[in-house]
Every structure is written in C-alpha cells, then in structure tokens.
Symmetry: C2
Subunit: 162 residues, 2 copies
DNA sequence: TTAAATTATTACAAATATATAACTATTTAA
DNA sequence: TTAAATAGTTATATATTTGTAATAATTTAA
C-alpha cells in the first residue's frame, strides 16, 4: 500500500521536475547570466542565513571543488562573503552580502514575472489550488531534504556522511 | 491579490526545484549513467507516445542541435527510433522502442527505490498529503507547460513558436 | 604527541549543456 | 516557378557540471 503511494509520488515528482526546470531555467537564462547552481546557492543562503562550504555542497548535492568555484564567482561579484568560525578555524561560513540579498530579490522578481505570464492564464481556482498544493509539496520536500542530507555520493572528498 | 498569489507560488516552486533536482539527480547519477536530459526525453516520449525533434526541444527547452545529439545517443542504444511522416517528409517523429520502454521502466523503479529510502521516513499522514498535493501541482504544471510552449528563446534556429 | 579525521582548496580531465552559424531537404506561399 | 519558411542536421566554440586525486591547515582522538 505504502509502496504504491511511493510509486505514485515518484511518478508525480518526476513529471514535475522537468517542467519546473524548463520554466525556471528559461526565465533565468533569458534574464540573467547566472547558471542554475549560482541561483540555487543564493536561494539556500537566503533561507539558511549562513552555511559552510560543505553545507552548501550537501544542500545542492554538488561536489566540494565545484562549491569553491561557485563561491569564488559569487565573491568576485561581491554577492557573498566568507566568515571564519572562531571555534574551528577550518570552517568557513558563507553568507549573502547586502548587495547579494538585493540581487537575489531582483532575480526572484524576474522569475515571478516569467511565471506571471504563464500563471496568469490559469483560472483563479486553479491558481488557488496550485498555491495550496505547492505549499504542501514544498513543506514535505524541505522535511525530506533534511532527512536526505547525505552529502555527495560520488565524491571521495566528502563521503556519504553517516 | 492575484499578484501576491503568483509571488507565493513562484517562491514555493523555486524552493521545490533545487530539492527535487537534488533528490532525483542523485538517484539517477548513482544508479544509471544517463544524464538528466536523456531521462527527461524518455519521460516525455513515454507520456506523448511520439514527438517531433522540434517538439522534444520545446518540451524540454533544449536547443535543436542538442536534441539531435540526445536522440543520436538514444538511437545508438536502440532506445528510440525515427519515424518519417508520410505527409511531410521534413518531419521526423521519435518514439521509444520496446527496449526503450523497458529501460525507462527500470529507471523509474530505480528512482522509486531512491525515493523510498527518503519517503519511508515520512509519516503516513505526510505521505498522503504529499501524494495529493504533488498530484495537484503536477496537473497544474502540465497545463501550464502547454500554455508555455514557446520554443527555445535563445535559439535563432527554433524561434519563439507561433 | 603522533596518527587519523575534517574542512576547504587546487589542479585536472571528461561529460554535458548552451549558443550560433551555416547547411540540406522539403513544403508553403507569392 | 521562384522566394520564403520550416524541419532537421552539421559544425564549432564556450560555459557549466561532474569526477578524481592530491594538498594545506586544523582539529580530534589514540
């Protein structure tokens, strides 16, 4: 029984993913020059305040060397900054600068615009339904993501947690 | 009012996307050697039966030359086949072979397994809620995607539809 | 205090994705 | 029938992402 539900959820989520990816990436590519991961890092930092390099890698499932690359780019544009941990000097926290927060807001509103043209064609009832359901999916996935925080599998450098 | 709803939906969807991407791509990468687009093409073909090259590009928002590359790969593995249109000899339909259908089923069950380990930690109630809500989101996005079928923006070769 | 583990970086190589331009074959329309 | 438009391909350059290995600095544990 639970088995079947899981299959059904998988089916739904696997249909949602490419469509969502398409809609967003299209908006992002059309209106900014940032690659997806850069946007996602900024999103993660917005929600978590600050994250370690390893934490960012875990959140996005990106190998650590790639995290360094992404952050280097964001640093160069002064969108994030590094903070040292007082207790453990190996750890570096990353957080958005004011400029970064502003930029991310802009990006989000660009995406909203991009969505608007599509969503505005939905009937009000459908939009309401989508709001409620996307809310529920979002909540469940965030919960899931926490349970699923297993680092990045293929990477020797950041082994699968435990 | 509708404005605010759209912002909220955008916010939700933009949080859903990276988490979903992470969970899926992790499962896919860990268990198959197919890149995301290959999986998505197979998914689109599963749902639509057959699609033209241009249609595939539109569905996934991938430039045409990249569609050719993806299909070449799938052809080489005998997972899809080309069909000529009788009426218009420029058009080539792509559809899954039996082998391709079988392979995609395998992939989906691998993804289900990957999801299972995560989902099984959710409480039954949460799972039910996720099933219903993912269903609704899926339905809305599919509808949205049809309205949003505007080809691939940055490409001169496959201009913005109409 | 030495060995092991952890955090982040550097350095590559390879795979995948994006962006353009030019081209063939075919159909549509003036 | 010629010109314009469409479907798909080829070719090429660049950007992004992934996969490994090795390294330095620091902390933890034996």
């Amino acid at each position: 029984m639970t088995e079947k539900k899981i299959d059904a959820v998988t089916e739904n989520l696997s249909r949602i993913l490419p469509i969502l990816g398409k809609i967003f990436m299209k908006g992002v590519r059309a209106k900014t020059s940032y690659p997806p991961h850069v946007i996602f890092v900024m999103g993660a930092l917005t929600h978590h305040g600050k994250l370690t390099m390893t934490g960012i890698g875990n959140h996005l499932s990106v190998p650590k060397p790639q995290v360094t690359t992404l952050i280097d780019r964001l640093i160069a544009e002064e969108l994030v900054e590094r903070l040292n941990d007082e207790k453990d000097r190996r750890i570096i926290y990353i957080q958005l600068t004011e400029k970064g927060k502003g930029r991310f807001k802009e990006i989000k509103s660009l995406m909203s615009e991009s969505m608007k043209s599509a969503l505005s064609e939905l009937e009000e009832e459908m939009l309401d339904k989508l709001l409620l359901s996307s809310d529920a999916v979002c909540e469940a996935l965030i919960l899931l993501n926490e349970k699923f925080q297993q680092g990045y599998c293929h990477l020797t450098n950041s082994k699968a947690s435990e």
